[in-house]
């Protein structure tokens, strides 16, 4: 055991001494490798945590949202619709929802206006999301006016601000009284944006959706599982974009690493011959090279991963902000809970360490099996 450790120490010493000969080049390679791991790990950690958060927070969204479609577009639910649905077995609760978008030309941002069916908001007052508070410089008891689509100006008093750590779901919300909502958007009485249905038995949801579609051919039921799936796919789609852009970088790195690791120079071949002549076994040469591959790739993996963890969960993923923000003016400030996908981390580890080490090893195998007496003739 002791002998084994001492052997490995000696092999590592030699490998490091070898690498130190081209310090700038090898450190550069290590830096690029680490950066690559950092970006990949950041994307994987961020998107997994975000998906997890979205599914947890939206776990109790309405089982079914019923939209009315006119010419392929979402339209208002006219009066009498709720009655037309009547009583479908299994539907626990059914209510019309009032919500809509408002584009604020002052800061060129979109808000989500909503009149909660639970009520609880006085007329003439609003409850706003924290991003709105920040961007428009609002506070409790301050007033704000919005110009309605009719051209009329409406003034509200900010009654309350939604909790700051709920920004991920509430950043752009403006909650108001139903009467204010209808007046502001000139929403005719009896009309609703859409209908939310609560279903007691999850097994029934699909049946009920089918019945709804039958009863109201111009409607589109959206199931909660579809909403949640939207989230699963939208982030993997964005993740896919990042990967697509990165694949160029990955490819460049692979070529670089292959060139560095696999392109065995005449000099290296000569060195392996010398090592064999002075008493190294083929296995020693290979072990030494494995150490080279493992040291570089393991360092890249560990440093890159730890940096990515700190970036995503301790620094709020600041580097992603420009990507995710897109054209949005209102951007939620949020910290994600570090839900980590062990399989993804293991995959990243595998694909960081194994291919590189293999690339280092393949050509050595060939060189290390040559005859040691060739050295006498160089």
């Amino acid at each position: 055991m002791n002998i084994w450790i001492e052997q490995q120490r000696a092999l590592i010493d030699f490998t490091l001494a070898s690498l130190a000969r081209r310090k700038a080049r090898n450190l550069g390679l290590l830096a690029v490798y680490t950066l690559l791991v950092f970006v990949l790990a950041s994307v994987a950690l961020f998107s997994h945590a975000l998906r997890h958060e979205a599914t947890r927070v939206l776990a109790d969204a309405p089982e079914i949202v019923l939209q009315r479609m006119v010419a392929g577009r979402h339209d208002l639910i006219p009066p009498g619709y709720l009655e037309k649905i009547g009583r479908i077995r299994g539907v626990q609760k059914m209510e019309g929802r009032l919500w809509g978008y408002y584009y604020d030309p002052v800061i060129k941002a979109n808000y989500t206006f909503m009149a909660p069916s639970a009520g609880g908001i006085e007329r003439g007052t609003i409850v706003i999301g924290a991003a709105l508070e920040r961007v428009r410089g609002l506070a409790q008891e301050t007033g704000i006016s919005f110009r309605a689509y009719s051209g009329k100006l409406y003034s509200f008093v900010v009654a309350d601000i939604l909790p700051h750590d709920s920004e991920l779901v509430s950043a752009d919300l403006v909650l108001m009284h139903e009467d204010d909502f209808r007046a502001f958007f000139a929403f005719p009485a009896g009309h609703y944006t859409d209908i939310a249905l609560a279903v007691a038995n999850p097994q029934e949801v699909r049946n009920i959706a089918a019945k709804l579609a039958d009863a109201l051919p111009d409607s589109r039921p959206i199931l909660r599982e579809e909403m949640l799936r939207t989230y699963a796919s939208i982030f993997s789609w964005r993740e896919g974009i990042v990967l697509a852009i990165l694949s160029g970088a990955i490819l460049a790195f692979v070529i670089l690493a292959w060139d560095k690791a696999a392109g065995l120079s005449a000099e290296e071949k000569r060195e392996i011959g010398i090592l064999k002549a002075i008493g190294w076994e083929t296995g020693d040469v290979i072990r030494m090279k494995i150490w080279e591959g493992v040291l570089i790739s393991l360092t890249a993996f560990l440093v890159g991963y730890v940096a990515a963890y700190l970036h995503v969960f301790r620094a709020g993923g600041v580097l992603f902000e420009p990507v995710l923000k897109g054209w949005a003016v209102l951007y939620p400030r949020f910290q994600l809970a570090p839900e980590i996908d062990g399989l993804a981390v293991a995959t990243l580890f595998f694909f960081t360490v194994v291919p590189y080490t293999a690339a280092v090893l393949v050509p050595i195998w060939r060189a290390a099996t040559t005859d040691p007496d060739a050295v006498m003739r160089s």
């Binding site: 001492e6 000969r21 190294w280 160089s378």
Partner: protein, 225 residues
């Protein structure tokens, strides 16, 4: 100590350019002596040294080291034997560029599993003895030819081998350095090592440090005294 019986060595055997570099060598090399292989270029001196030093196996014939037949040993055992019992000083020195003198000297000990401190102390001792202590951390390509050869000698001795093998050791040295080298050789024989070298340098062959000269030509021994 080393016994060769009817040893032959072919290169490219069975091909159109088949060449017998050694053709029926019978030889017995005694321990604790300095033996020189002598002969013109191409006479097979280097080839014979590779067989003696376990770097290659004879095509036919037997080779014995301390009574044990080594001509049929598998590669692994040959390597171990080579590491423990033989030290090599190559004609071109074959040091690893970019590494320091000390690192080069320590290399053959890496697979042995000896503690690093022990090996380092031993390397320091050898370099000191060869008057290279001040160049310990210098990269080998910055050293002069004579210094490089002394690093190569120190490297050959790091595993404390019984046999030291040197191929054309004075080919790259001037007269003063060659004399110095012979003096070093003599001291090794004096401490009980067996030294085998090849040379066509009269300075070596006529030297009092060399106990036995074996003359070769065309892969055969022509004269032995």
């Amino acid at each position: 100590m080393i016994e060769l019986i009817e040893v032959r060595k072919a290169f490219n055997q069975g091909k159109h350019n088949e060449f017998w570099a050694l053709d029926g060598i019978n030889l017995n090399i005694e321990a604790h002596r300095v033996t020189a292989l002598c002969g013109p270029s191409g006479s097979g001196k280097t080839t014979l040294l590779t067989l003696i030093g376990c770097l290659a196996r004879p095509t036919s014939g037997r080779a014995r080291f301390k009574g044990e037949d080594i001509s049929g040993l598998p590669e692994r055992f040959l390597t171990q034997l080579r590491r423990r019992s033989f030290g090599f000083v190559f004609q071109q020195f074959n040091l690893i560029r970019g590494l320091s003198a000390e690192e080069n000297v320590m290399l053959p000990a890496a697979p042995s599993g000896l503690p690093q401190q022990v090996v380092r102390a031993r390397a320091a001792m050898l370099l000191d003895r060869l008057r290279l202590a001040h160049r310990r951390t210098a990269r080998v390509e910055w050293l002069s030819g004579g210094e490089q050869q002394r690093v190569a000698i120190a490297r050959a001795l790091i595993n404390d081998p019984e046999v030291l093998i040197a191929d054309e050791p004075t080919a790259n040295l001037d007269t003063t350095l060659a004399r110095e080298f012979l003096a070093i050789l003599e001291s090794f024989a004096g401490e009980g090592r067996t030294v085998i070298l090849s040379s066509h340098d009269p300075l070596v062959i006529q030297s009092a440090a060399v106990h036995r000269v074996i003359n070769m030509r065309d892969g055969r021994i022509v004269d032995d005294n």
